[in-house]
Symmetry: C2
Subunit: 409 residues, 2 copies
Amino acid sequence: MPTISRKGKLTPASPIRKLVPYAEAALKKGVHIYYLNIGQPDIKTPKVALDAVKNNDVNILSYSTSNGSEAYREKLAQYYAENNIHISSDDIIVTTGASEALLFAIACITDPHDEIIIPEPFYANYTSFAIAEGVNVIPIHTGIDSQFSLPKISAFEKVINQKTKAILICNPGNPTGVVYTKEEIRQLKELALKYNLFLIADEVYREFVYDGEIHHSIMSENDMEQNAIMIDSISKRYSMCGARIGCIISKNKVFLSAIMKMAQSRLSPPTYAQIAAEAALQTPKSYFTEVVAEYTKRRNVLVKALKGIDGVTVFKPKGAFYCIVELPVKDTDHFAQWLLEDFQDQQETVMVAPASGFYSTENLGKSQIRIAYVLQQKDLLRSVIILKKGLATYTHLFPNKTLESVPSS
Amino acid sequence: MPTISRKGKLTPASPIRKLVPYAEAALKKGVHIYYLNIGQPDIKTPKVALDAVKNNDVNILSYSTSNGSEAYREKLAQYYAENNIHISSDDIIVTTGASEALLFAIACITDPHDEIIIPEPFYANYTSFAIAEGVNVIPIHTGIDSQFSLPKISAFEKVINQKTKAILICNPGNPTGVVYTKEEIRQLKELALKYNLFLIADEVYREFVYDGEIHHSIMSENDMEQNAIMIDSISKRYSMCGARIGCIISKNKVFLSAIMKMAQSRLSPPTYAQIAAEAALQTPKSYFTEVVAEYTKRRNVLVKALKGIDGVTVFKPKGAFYCIVELPVKDTDHFAQWLLEDFQDQQETVMVAPASGFYSTENLGKSQIRIAYVLQQKDLLRSVIILKKGLATYTHLFPNKTLESVPSS
């Protein structure tokens, strides 16, 4: 049998999706599952986007241009202007989700064995994209105790070397819910300029900031045109994960021309989805006000309920719709699987994402899970009750797998 | 300024799309262009597919499963069964176009500096995908004089070495229009088994075979389960290039599990497009009968007209909807650009794809162009008249750039 490649072997299974077979088995047994594991919002997609697709007048479903339809890119530039991000439609290349945008960006700026610095914990697929390009992720630790804020500049300088090509952040953060301050963004800019690095910001959760926090885009910073690469997507903004429409934005023309060649090689982003995306830009501001109010309530309910469980630590997220929760168990991979395989409370259980997949440093995050608060408040509350009961049973069944006090990572 | 990567620099601009700026300039001057350069069919997408999207009842545009919706994969397996390809829905991973399928397949079976053998000329984006994975393409020459048929097995054996991981074919062929015989497929199978190689077949033009030719899929061959990887797409079959739905099919479970991890890393293929794709499978057989009849007529009209031009050689394609045409000029890159920039006949010109981009051997194909016969017969005839007049003017203006007799490549 011919063999598969190193990257074929090394690419990790999704920590968010790898429990799916256990979930399917639970469903077959008639167990209802509350899905806290995946960032698939239950918020309705804006009607204006849905209607645009229903009323489309396509007769031949053709390719679009490789960088995405011009009409969409022009309207998108207006959207950014309203968000204090001043770019032209030529600075945008539309991609098949932020996933493709990230893969293209990393491919375009790194050679095999180069390094990218990423604050940890981070979105698990960054690891897959790095492996795909033969690149090493150098994690910079951020902790639940310091609210996942960035460490001092010296922590970065300690790991920057000739192989370092970029710093990659997710802001607002998945899985942490951190929202970086203007000072933190300026610090990263300073590093990028001083060490001639790209600064890649995954800003797909731009709209999801709470308690009056303000999101600072790297594209709003001056004097960083050659270094700044913004990654975006409509998946979360308009609850359109299945569209698969994202984009890469940069004012660095050498970078963007190279991305354009990669975009040409895969011909075009999906056409129906671009129709939806263009229409979605007409979504009234009130949509976001309502969505943010709803997520704020969900977060508050969730965090309060979680704090009521003995031995549980939780950071109250400032943005996105995830939170990292530290549990009094030694291995949440085992615990999460057990919840699906062997536990139920009144024929119900929960599916959570073990956090180890969000860390590249070995053995970190093993007591943590990520919860996506994309369910209604009553379902979140019920989920926390199940989690609490599950923890109690698990502690009883596996005393050697549980912790007396919570470790700080 | 931070620098871009080797692959960022090396990825070629699309030979099919790189002339776009000159076309745009011509359009601005009011010149009408006949597009012979791109495989975007003018055939209508089946109504059943268009209607399914118009009548969709999506309220939240969610991710699908990473390997594509189960309903779609099950119906797809039935379609293949009707085409003498017996696979199960579990052997399929739905991708964002054949482009992603090819990229994943190459990523999954090659490490940097490995080699893939491809009969030349070949689809230009194979080069981009190989560069993306750091892989070397080893071309096997096929010539217009021998109707682009495969050379003897010894020609392959001469280049096979320890770094060889796969043979990649496109059947029916883009850009040649070749349809491999059962003997040719068996010969490739023999090679794959003898040297423990993967055999990747890009079969996106399966339905487009003429004059009673029969398409032989590699998946219809026995005893090659661990070696065979089929790449497919609905882009050409249903004139749905903009859907961006393709798939990878293999019975090699180790290979497919690794592909699944890559599929998970980009979350899911586009959802609306899967609705269209699933419905498209209900397209009546008569659709293909009509389409094939139409392409046969177009091909006949085109080839006959081209043969009427002095110094032009053309292979009458047996499948797909492209043909390679050898012109009495030294550099079709220059000629194609000149047609757009400086030539017009009654305010009209043609856009063709210079063939050099379809060759990886340097200096091959420089006298050739690829014509996609995706226009109506009268437009094809008019295009050939423009091409003939253009050739006459070009010969007159640039005698040192034209050839007295046609070279054989």
